[in-house]
């Protein structure tokens, strides 16, 4: 079972600069050609200050988090079970967002082959003034590596 002491462990905020090219490539990879992700003029005519990032774009942000370190175990495999986002506002090209990651919960849940270790990891993105931009929540099924394995 995962160490309950991991709850609350967090990584320091890491700066992510939101680039237009990164938004374009992210939207292209999804196959989403909505012009608000590509065309500045179109985005403005749609009521946005500039090019917008797709809803799942925070998945591309990096943080200083090392899950192994945060959870305090070696990890054999991770299964992404659930994902959620809360948005304070859309993310725009040119945003400078500080992302930090924390372990918000670890617990056991009965699974098909015995108990499963679940970790809930929360990312938080804030702008340079410290205003919340988004929160992301990943629920992971963690299989820890055996010692010395």
């Amino acid at each position: 079972m995962l160490d309950k002491n991991a709850i609350g462990r967090a990584s320091p905020p890491t700066l992510n600069e939101v680039e237009k090219g990164a938004i374009r490539r992210f939207a292209e990879a999804i196959g989403d050609y909505n012009p608000i992700y590509y065309d500045e003029e179109y985005a403005r005519a749609s009521g946005y200050p500039t090019i917008v990032a797709p809803p799942t774009f925070p998945a591309s942000f990096h943080s200083a988090a090392d899950l192994r370190e945060l959870l305090g175990v070696g990890i054999k495999s991770l299964l992404h079970a659930e994902q959620g986002f809360d948005y304070e506002r859309p993310i725009f090209a040119g945003d400078r967002i500080y992302v930090s990651t924390r372990v918000s919960d670890v617990f056991e849940r009965p699974g098909m082959s015995g108990k499963m270790d679940i970790a809930v990891i929360e990312d938080e993105g804030r702008d340079e003034e410290g205003n919340l931009v988004f929160r992301a929540r990943r629920t992971l099924v963690v299989r820890a590596a055996k010692e010395n394995a």
């Binding site: 909505n34 809803p55 799942t56 992404h80 948005y87």
Partner: protein, 233 residues
């Protein structure tokens, strides 16, 4: 020119979002997504590695499929602001699979000049199997007039709209509360794995509705949960 916007006044509970059929997933797309997201987990891009860990081939990261379902929301909710978006990954998506994204309005409510719609979302593969399900909350202007007023610095149009799931209390026939009941067939498909969802599902949705809709009365939150649960059955 930008497409026509969506306004709260024209949305009804039970409205279906136009289904979005994505192009079949291929390995090039998996590489592109790995590059764009920075997630180079080899199970998504390295065929030999994927096979070495017992998979028949590489498979799509859940977040790619969540991105596709996100497209369904943004295409439909033009002019709206996404407040919440969450999913549960149910089945893997393989190269060659076609993801079809679907959604339906499950609730609408407004208070203090802010208006929200709640949507049930799900994605199926080409066999009609459920691969992902979730929900979203979108904030909208009440009407074009409301948008024009707010953009010119005036106060919003204020109409009190209680959650529709509360307006028609029908404990005996839960499907009837969410209006047009074609909800059943899609939801039935994943009934089997419903049980192990409750544990993480509930605290999560409770926490997020608290955060994103602080002005709602507590009664609305607690009452909407059992309704949503019944609807799944």
């Amino acid at each position: 020119m930008p497409a026509r916007k969506l306004y709260f006044e024209s949305i009804r509970v039970g409205d279906e979002l136009p289904a979005l059929a994505k192009a079949p997933v291929d390995r090039v797309q998996l590489s592109r997504y790995a590059g764009a997201s920075g997630d180079y987990n080899p199970v998504h891009v390295d065929e030999l590695y994927a096979k070495s860990v017992g998979m028949p081939s590489v498979y799509a990261p859940g977040m790619l499929v969540m991105g596709m379902l996100g497209q369904l929301i943004s295409d439909w909710a033009r002019g709206g602001q996404l407040r919440r978006y969450n999913v549960r990954f149910i089945k893997m998506v393989w190269p060659g699979d076609t993801v079809v994204c679907k959604g339906r309005v499950s609730d609408r409510h407004g208070s203090g000049g802010r208006y929200f719609v709640e949507i049930d979302l799900w994605a199926e593969n080409q066999k009609g199997e459920l691969v992902m399900k979730g929900g979203s909350q979108i904030q909208l202007f009440y009407s074009l007039e409301d948008e024009n007023r707010q953009r010119s610095g005036q106060s919003p149009i204020v109409v009190e709209v209680p959650r529709e799931s509360l307006v028609v209390p029908a404990p005996a026939a839960p499907e009837a509360t969410s209006a047009q009941a074609p909800a059943a067939p899609e939801r039935d498909r994943d009934e089997d794995d419903e049980d192990d969802d409750e544990e993480t599902g509930e605290p999560r949705s409770g926490a997020s509705s608290k955060k994103t809709a602080p002005r709602e009365k507590p009664a609305a939150k607690t009452a909407s949960l059992p309704a949503a649960k019944k609807a799944r059955k």
